[in-house]
Amino acid sequence: MTASPLFFSDATPDRIDAALASDGLWLSYGACRVRVRAEASGFARILQDVYGAFPFQDQGEFADFHVRLERGRGLRRLVKPQVRFSIDGVEPFEPFPVSNALPLFEWGVNWCFGQRFNQYVLLHAGVLGLNGRALVMPAVPGSGKSTLTAALMLSGFRLLSDEFGVLRPMDGRLLPMLKPVALKNESIEVIRRFAPDARMGPVFAGTRKGDVAHLAPNAESVAELDCELAPALVLFPRWEAGAALSLLPQAPEQAFARLAFNSFNYGLLGARSFNAVADLVERSQCYQLVYSRLDEALDCIRCLMTDEDV
């Protein structure tokens, strides 16, 4: 008989705290594994909120990144206490207020991944799955990508990633980089209204990206952390107040340019990323979607993913 895996939601905050303070916790995101050690008060509880469906692992053999969250030094331990993020002794960000440990951790892991995982083409895109096929949603900040990504996950799509479209050049498949969805400003209320039962962490007010709250990945998405998907649809979403739903085919060369030139590491990988992005465009239908109503956008995307008439 095999013991059932323990999930973050099952572990007590004391146990999470104890693991963070000693050998650390191993978090699997799909494409990479992170070992985190921390001494930030309250971090365990928040981690449990947004990683509730993830396996709780306080022992592990391998991690791609070994990161630490440590309290500020000197007076900063006492007066307006701070938290610092480091990987291999490098601190890529200025310290944050200790209450903002989660946003610092999330951005820190993104930084590590974006800086070091150059065996993959890292698209700036949300990725979701339905019926074993992937939807890739590249977008510039402010286009409503994270809101749409969150709503799709809460409507039965499998979430692979909100920030990184992890494209493997060797076979053109997309890997999960499954992290909590960082919702910003108005998007927080939009998703709360859309799914009042959705599991969300606290709102961190006044961060460098405005107010931020993290939506927890659901158990269905976490259960498929090891499953990659082939691409089927590339969709460039844009939220526009009051706009009627509009779906326009995107010329493949334009889709290529928008994917490649918004990638985190396209230039670094040369011909490998060139061919990988060209393959992705060739294998996918490409559209631009302008919307103002989430329900209409979701219906439209579901139809596209199930090959129904839109």
């Binding site: 010329a251 493949p252 060369e253 340019a257 396209y266 230039g267 011909a271 060139f274 465009v281």
Partner: protein
Amino acid sequence: MRRLGDAAVVFDGRDGQTHVLPPEAVAVADWVAEFQQLNGRVSIEVLNARLCEEFGIDEHATGYRDLLNMLQEIGVLRA
């Protein structure tokens, strides 16, 4: 060069730059490739003259000459 529909994208390994060619530019590149297959390599001047003659365009108009120069610069055309 990778064809994407009627357009194409080009990766220039010499400088790592990527270029997007709209369908019109791909059509010209195709015409040049076919012309050179039959006639061998010729200069940009000759290509421009023949292209303009073929499509009835003023030879002194700069559009095709610029396009041919650009195709040569990114390695799609060898003149």
